[in-house]
């Protein structure tokens, strides 16, 4: 059952210290800013965060890093022109980094959501990022065994939800949000609009409500 929350603070309640938290978005597009600020207020620490980037500027995920709440980050592209918060923490040895090829990041979360125990991919074979990982020759090519990334919580953003939790997104703000919704025990979504069941086109729903635990509307 999907719960419609009246505040972002309600929406992030109960997130425990030490949780693994998926944070949607690609750069700042599709990032659930208001949920991240609520998580900062909520106070959970020692978090492992999975997100494509390691924060931009001083906002959103960067603010969570700056608040000292993140022990480890798993991402594909930490280094950016505006990733100074992460850069300083990393160079100071204050945050652990696991660089994951972007496709593996997405597929490993999909695996967690889909009950796949592990999968073989060519991505990374023969590179530093496959060091120590099991490999297998399949049809003459080398594949690397990758494991699911399951999380305690996903914080994502969408464009519109119905009250059953069905979600649609807008343009490239979709990005990691739908796959993250499938991979977490508790999925929390900030949306710009909430409508009644029947108002979304059933053919166009991207995330069915079964994946959504809490919704909160934020001003757009």
């Amino acid at each position: 059952m999907t719960l419609l929350c009246t505040s972002v603070d309600d929406a992030v309640s109960g997130i425990a210290d030490g949780s693994t938290v998926l944070v949607g978005g690609f750069g700042t597009t599709g990032m659930p800013f208001e949920l991240i600020y609520a998580l900062i207020r909520q106070g959970a620490r020692d978090l492992t965060v999975v997100s494509n980037n390691a924060g931009n500027g001083d906002t959103g995920l960067a603010a969570l890093l700056a608040a000292g709440r993140v022990r480890k980050i798993m991402c594909s592209f930490p280094r950016q022109t505006d990733s100074w918060v992460f850069d300083e923490l990393y160079r100071g040895g204050k945050i652990e980094l696991e660089v994951v090829p972007q496709g593996n990041l997405a597929e490993r979360m999909r695996a967690a959501g889909a009950g796949i125990g592990g999968f073989y991919t060519r991505t990374g074979a023969g590179t530093l990022l496959a060091e120590g990982k099991e490999t297998r020759e399949i049809d003459g090519r080398t594949y690397v065994l990758e494991s699911p990334i399951a999380a305690d919580v996903a914080l994502i953003s969408a464009h519109t939800a119905d009250t059953l939790g069905n979600l649609v997104y807008r343009k490239t703000a979709r990005n990691f949000n739908p796959v993250m919704a499938t991979a977490a025990t508790t999925t929390v979504v900030q949306v710009r609009h909430v409508v009644e069941p029947g108002e979304l086109d059933p053919e166009a729903v991207v995330t069915p409500g079964i994946y959504v635990d809490r919704i909160v509307r934020v001003p757009s």
Binding site: M1, A114, T163, P208
Partner: protein, 227 residues
């Protein structure tokens, strides 16, 4: 700790449940707002005993959440069927998805409950429901193995005895297995069982048979459930 003692509710004054009554008893135990997949055949009839107010949302593995009741008359649409390939309807808030997404949902542990028929269930919850094992049988598994391993809870709906009087709740399945240790509850015409993973199968309720008589007819260690 609860002070409630284990006990079996015995409805001995009446005969075994009819097929519709069995479905009704099971439906009563489906939690409000649950996401549920009903297997083809008798399990599908469980839906007839759940009102819209239950908030239960039905999944059909051929790609839909928010499936409504059977379609009749002009509402029949050849593009809208359930897993048993019968015409159904769409409720407000439905969503369609393709088969890989549908089975990712099932296998990823997102459905709260599925209801399946069975040839046999073992005391440890092994399920046999896809293949008689007879040499001339044409095997057909459909989505049964995926549901059995994927749903958070598996409820079986079946008669307790075959027409020949052989029990279908057994110490070990002799039919080919669908999945190991997956069944949580068994709803039958004469009793409701809980499988706990322990040595004993728990009995919650009986119809037309006493708990003691049930014990004599099954080769499985039974105990009373805590209500």
């Amino acid at each position: 700790m609860s002070a409630v003692s284990p006990s079996v509710v015995e409805h001995t004054g009446r005969g075994p449940l009819g097929r519709d009554e069995m479905a009704q008893v099971l439906a009563r135990d489906i939690p409000r707002g649950a996401y549920v997949n009903l297997g083809i055949g008798q399990p599908t009839t469980v839906g007839d005993h759940l009102s819209p107010e239950s908030g239960v949302i039905f999944h059909t593995e051929n790609g839909m959440l928010g499936m409504g009741p059977a379609a009749t008359g002009d509402a029949i649409d050849p593009d809208l069927i359930n897993a048993g390939k019968f015409p159904v309807t769409e409720l407000p808030g439905a969503a369609y998805f393709h088969h890989a997404d549908s089975f990712a949902m099932m296998r990823g542990g997102h459905l709260d409950l599925c209801v399946l028929g069975a040839y046999q269930v073992s005391a440890s919850g092994d399920l046999a429901n896809w293949h008689t094992g007879e040499p001339d049988a044409i095997p057909a598994v459909g989505g049964a193995m995926d549901l059995a391993v994927g749903a958070k809870q598996v409820f079986v709906l079946m008669s307790l005895f075959t027409r020949k009087g052989e029990p279908k709740l057994v110490s070990a399945c002799t039919y080919p297995l669908t999945a190991l240790r997956c069944v949580n509850r068994i709803y039958t015409d004469v009793a409701v069982f809980e499988i706990t993973g322990g040595d004993q199968v728990l009995v919650r309720e009986t119809w037309g048979i006493s708990f003691d008589e049930l014990r004599t007819r099954l080769d499985v260690p039974l105990a009373a459930a805590t209500p």
